[in-house]
């Protein structure tokens, strides 16, 4: 956030004032007021009726600031001043990353707000699920079935029965499907809310019948990033599977830059999907 350093700028413009011999005395400028160009817009608020959907979802963007325009992309590209202008709710029919930014003629453009919505391709509702160890009593939602109920939580992890929270180094989730199913991807929906000491897992591995069939390492989980929910995709060796054992490994400790440095981070999961 750019502020505080505006005094130098004021002095510069005073020099220009004098150069142009305009009758403004810079000595009387005792208060260095903030100018428009030093102010950054807040990012637009993205609201989606359903982050997980079977047919389609509807997304709205909002920033109630006079003169602000909102632009977005759906292909993962950066949002520039030539990106699509938001005018009415956006209908989403496929898994997409929606990115949005606010622009204004007076102020600096906002940071990017981003959210991924996902089309559910396979229903896990009938699967057997076991979790070890159990989630924290405070964040146990509706128990283990919460992870395969097709319901997704928001970034407000305290709201609703969506999120399971763990303060463990490893979380094991086993899934037994009704019948062997072709799977090429396991998707785990997790939360990043570093102010609440919740970090993304460092590593996910998937094992079936004792054989490793996929893994994913999140290199950037210790970096300082904004609050968001994230779908972590793990590619699975092609095949039909009837059991899957997922292991989520947390970072050993919260990184140095954080107030909770060294202590075990929290891991929050709200849904597991297969494709």
């Amino acid at each position: 956030m750019a502020y505080r350093n505006h005094r130098g700028k004021i002095a510069l413009w005073c020099a220009i004032f004098m150069g142009l011999s305009i009758s403004v005395s810079c000595q009387t400028q005792e208060v260095a007021l903030l100018v428009n160009s030093k102010i950054v817009l807040a990012p637009p608020i993205i609201q989606i009726d359903s982050l997980l959907f079977k047919e389609s979802a509807s997304a709205t963007l909002q920033l109630r600031q006079e003169g602000a325009t909102l632009r977005y992309t759906l292909d993962g590209s950066d949002v520039s001043t030539s990106a699509a202008l938001y005018q009415s709710p956006i209908v989403l029919k496929e898994t997409v990353e929606l990115k949005a930014k606010a622009f204004h003629s007076d102020f600096q453009a906002s940071e990017t707000a981003a959210i991924t919505t996902r089309k559910v391709k396979s229903d896990l509702g009938a699967a057997e699920i076991q979790i070890q160890p159990n989630p924290s009593k405070t964040y146990s939602a509706s128990g283990r079935k919460t992870l395969i109920d097709g319901q997704k939580g928001s970034t407000n992890f305290r709201r609703g029965n969506f999120w399971l929270g763990f303060q463990e180094s490893e979380i094991l989730v086993s899934l037994s499907l009704e019948q062997p199913t072709k799977i090429n991807k396991v998707v785990v929906s997790v939360l990043n809310d570093q102010d609440s000491w919740i970090f993304l897992p460092q590593k996910l591995t998937v094992v079936s019948n004792g054989i490793s069939v996929g893994s994913k390492v999140l290199e950037n989980c210790a970096e300082k990033t904004s609050k968001q929910t994230k779908f972590v995709e793990v590619d699975i060796a092609p095949g039909a599977y009837s059991t899957l054992l997922l292991t989520l490994s947390a970072m050993e400790g919260i990184p140095e830059w954080h107030a909770g440095k060294g202590t075990p981070p929290w891991t929050f999961i709200d849904e597991i999907l297969i494709e």
Binding site: Y3, T28, L33, V40, K227
Partner: protein, 346 residues
Amino acid sequence: MIERRNFIKKTGLATAGLFSLGNTAAFPQNHFKDAVIGHGSHQYKIDLAWGELNRKQFPVKDCHEMVQDSKGRIILLTNHTQNNVLIYDKSGKLLDAWGKEYPGAHGLTLHDENGTEFLYIADNDRHEVIKTNLEGKVVQIFPYPKETGKYENKEAYIPTETAIAANGDLYVSDGYGSQYIIHYDSKGNLKNVFGGRGNEPHLFHNAHGICIDDRDPKNIVVLVTARQQNKLKRFTPEGDYIDSIDLPGAYICRPVIHNKHIYLATIWSGDGSEGTGFISILDENNKLVSAPGGSTPIYNNEVLSPMHQTLRVFRHPHDVCVDEDENLYVAQWNSWGTYPIKLYRV
């Protein structure tokens, strides 16, 4: 002080004048205009550097609350125990500093007692309220209210704010503790307890701030913020619940009455993310009329549309002090140890 407001208007015009001379090559002309934030009748220019001091000599941690005394001085309370109280003039010049014994300094209220002014400091860590004179001499301590029967130990009591009625009665909100409002007479004898934790209308989640609403002298009301609930709750002086003012999306800290308006530092907004604060200003009908740094207030059928931050000017406003020119001083929590921000009304 009208002069100051005119002066600022003039410098704004002078800047615009410069650019109308044709020097607009690289930037749109509004870029170097003084920013004006807020809506309708309550709009402000921003001085981020107000009150900046040598951080080694006069450090601040959280800037929690500010009040103005009868001499016009601006008194800041911080939980930095090198100088819990910093006293400024309105230009931001430091006049006095005192206090090393308030590690949990949080709530600051000034009361004029028959011509002598006193401060009430609600200390989160000490679990008590301390009354001092303006030089920092302790004159009375209100320990945890064991006599209410609501508290097992002092740790369950984490007072965040005080309000003093015209008759000297003291109200303390236990906003980080058990959510009760403790009502004492002017001598410190317990008169009443109301509120408590819960979802019912008369109960609280984070009864963070309290004040006496005397805008209608025939109808005195005690206002209490339920910060996590985004509501301002109204009670009679006897503690009977009247109704609530809904401010969806606005995590309001404490109500401050000035003339006919209520000013509320709003520490977070929207989904409660870090760094999303702004200022809320309600009119005499308790309708949000301006939100400097926040979204344009819109009512649909008397219901306020959820509020959110729109400009990254503030991080975590924790209190607003309003001076006689209706300029604002904004103290911020958890904002990298920065000093208060002044807003000049335009």
